[in-house]
Symmetry: C5
């Protein structure tokens, strides 16, 4: 998985019928130091992530491994909202600090 | 998924029999600011996208997750025509504005 | 899919038994302007493509979506010989012109 | 597979239900000379790897090929702790030397 | 598939049980001119390849398409030892010449 920050949304009305009701989040990837990378991904959301939150994103066929989602043409999925990222016993990111 | 702009078409007569009738669109990827990237993709179209429209493209096995398409040797599919892209409450792209 | 030019062949006698009889083409990728890129791919051929022809290549599990090929350890397949590539109503490539 | 060094952990409480109990390791990739690369990956751990250990990481659908893990939305998995890496009969890395 | 040169081995004792007995080769990728690229891959060997040999490597789910290997968490497999690589009727590589 990659670490990404939710930075927006994408809306599409004319789409594959199986994608009706799917929310598309615009994610920007972060490096392991928490800096924004130029790469982005549009991913389906399954955990209720909001703008500015750090999330874990799975890509490829993993994006369809949720109940009822096996046959949707998705290649990216937000699988979790990140609480903390720790590097060598140092706390790199804490959602609690961001929410203050 | 990635955001891409439809910029052309590719025609192939001598191809895998299962690909008969599939329309191939030439897509150029856009970055999250809407600027054209050098990368491109040839994708099957399943939503009737036209030149200059912004679309969502799924890659990998996701491209075969449409009824009747499970066994076609495709690795890229246009899964939706984009209406709007919003970044941090700012409207980055609106199809309506483009159509005027 | 990506656009590539057939530039050679690869021969392997000592290989996975399921790959017996498979022809391996050496492909060099082209960008959307038709210029050779440094990246290449060795792909199985299923359409009878020849040297200098432009082809469409599918990668990943798509390369096994042909009758009888589902269990071969292939990750790249030539799925079509390109007739034309058109960008914004301009003909970028035409096989007919090349064959003259 | 790629060679990576375990450099931290990622904690997520609000996540896909199927990911409960999965430990997420933050891995930084190494090149074939053992130098840290800028790329990282968050991977599920199935072998009990600890910080500073060198590990083998599988990506893509391979990350779900463990008993009970077939339907979890994971795209990266630590599949082994590395004992030695040898290049042209030269020992590039030995876990034993690191543990001293 | 990509062309790579076998340059070493990786040994892991503490690993996924399904990987017992699998030999891991360290491969360095070659470009289409036969020059070593900085990218490498650790791949399972199924054809008995040795150091300095040129091989074809398949990545992704293709790496599990061998009898008995369908459920092993592998994402790279050596599928053949290369005899010759020919580019535009020029012999770029011949194993016979190397073995002299």
């Amino acid at each position: 998985m990659q670490i990404a920050k939710v930075c927006g949304t994408v809306v599409s009305t004319q789409k594959e019928p199986s994608l009706r009701g799917v929310k598309f989040l615009l994610l920007q990837f972060l490096n392991e130091e928490g800096q924004l990378l130029p790469e982005y991904e549009v991913a389906a959301d399954s955990v209720g992530a909001g703008v500015d939150e750090w999330v874990l994103v799975s890509r490829g066929s993993a994006a369809r491994q949720i109940p009822g989602g096996e046959t949707r043409p998705l290649d990216a999925l937000v699988v979790g909202i990140i609480d903390t990222v720790s590097v060598e016993n140092r706390l790199l990111y804490s959602k609690r600090d961001q929410d203050r």
